[in-house]
Amino acid sequence: MPVEYPSSGGLMAEHRAVRKGVGLFDVSHMGDIRMHTAQRLGGALEAVQHITMNDASKLAIGQAQYSAMLYPKGTFVDDVIVHRLGQDDYLLVINAGTREKDIDWVRKNTGSFDCAVEDLSDSYTQLAIQGPRAVELLKKLTDANLDAVKTYWFTHGTVCGLKNTLIARTGYTGEDGFEIYVRSDVATSESVWNEVVDAGKEFGIAPCGLGARNTLRLESKMALYEHEISDNINVWEAGLDRYCKIEKGEFIGRAELEKARARGNSRTLIGLEMVDRGIARDGYRCLNENGDAIGYVTSGSPSPTLGKNIALAYVPPAMSAIGTPMYIEIRSQKCKAQVVATPFYKRIRKAIAS
């Protein structure tokens, strides 16, 4: 996936297309791990429960959840989306950059479970169709009843003539949208891409690159590996508590997370908005009034939707209240910012038609 598509008009135009119309992302670099029963039904669920922090036993067939795989110390191997495909059959969608590591991790830590692990990463091309018009667009290309697919649910249907395609109402943009999984042979993925682009013309579709993918997810405060989450940041610090189900029973990372909760956080993830001119970028330092370093920016960028310069940063909890003044060191200058509520952008969900 390129940073941006000149044919779409560049990053800003791509970003706006997703917020107002529809955008198309080639996210085939994402990895896919299937975990299913080897012999005894329930073995796959036990393995999934062991290696992920959310409660997969709560999933119905056709439902998905945001989750993460953790190291024993409660920090992140990766964040994942767990899909329940069947009775004891799960699909974990993982990040590209961590793919090899993730697969090794899953295999290494599920060996004692009655569970088969398959790396399907090379078998599927994942396309993300995102934006308020995504549903209208995809309806033109599939026989599946998309109205019946709620956010974080999925179905199977024919898409662009390809039978039994997985269609999930998920994404990484903060908008409504779908991720579809098609066979990865070049001819198939190219023809689907082209069909989606053609069908999307009436909705002003824009092919979107990594640049817009980053600004969209940042406005929606969705974590990026090695930025908001990493092998040295734990679940509580990252503010992902609601996806971590301590009460479900044992899983890798649980014991240390309980201890970490008792100790309290030394840093927490916050949202910032620049008050002074200047853009806080990834890795820049956060300073207090006296100019002492108190934290760092994990992701920062102009927000195309808000027209402001925004950032996510780790700072001590005492500095995390909304409205707290803060400074960002930008090319040796102390630029004023303040803590703001997150997510920076939240879509307005349409009321259910009566």
């Binding site: 940073v3 941006e4 990053l11 980053n214 853009i279 960028s301 102009p302």
Partner: protein, 133 residues
């Protein structure tokens, strides 16, 4: 977009146009294209000095910060104030309205060491080939 013959160019994609010892400096069409949508420009104050090869400004797009290096030494006479309000001028008119600073050159002969338009165009053709290879 064509590269004006009266400009001189650097390998870092700045352009400079001198009339006597007064020169205007900006970034090239190739540079703005690589950067994408420009959203913020940091410029030096009038009176500050530029040193050849040292950074004097930064131009930021949504996706990245780009440091701008002085093609020649001199003293800043004027910075392009309209860029504070319309940074996108760098995208729409990099060789004109998107200029960065006007300077009084310390030594106009410094420009002799820079590329002319034909050499610069050949240089960016190479860059494009590298990028697509």
């Amino acid at each position: 977009m064509s590269y004006p013959a009266q400009f001189r160019y650097t390998k870092d994609h700045e352009w400079i146009e001198a009339k006597g010892d007064i020169a205007t400096i900006g970034i090239t069409d190739y540079a703005q294209h690589e950067l994408g949508d420009v959203v913020f420009v940091e410029l030096p104050a009038a009176g500050s000095s530029l040193t050849t090869g040292k950074t004097f400004s930064s131009v930021e797009s949504v996706k990245a910060v780009s440091e701008i290096y002085a093609p020649a030494s001199g003293r800043v006479m004027e910075a392009n104030a309209t860029l504070q309000i319309k940074p996108e001028s760098i995208n729409s008119d990099p060789h004109g309205a998107g200029w960065l600073v006007k300077v009084k050159l310390a030594d106009p002969s410094e420009l002799n060491g820079l590329m002319d338009a034909a050499a610069y165009e050949a240089y960016i053709e190479e860059k494009k080939k590298e990028a697509s290879a």
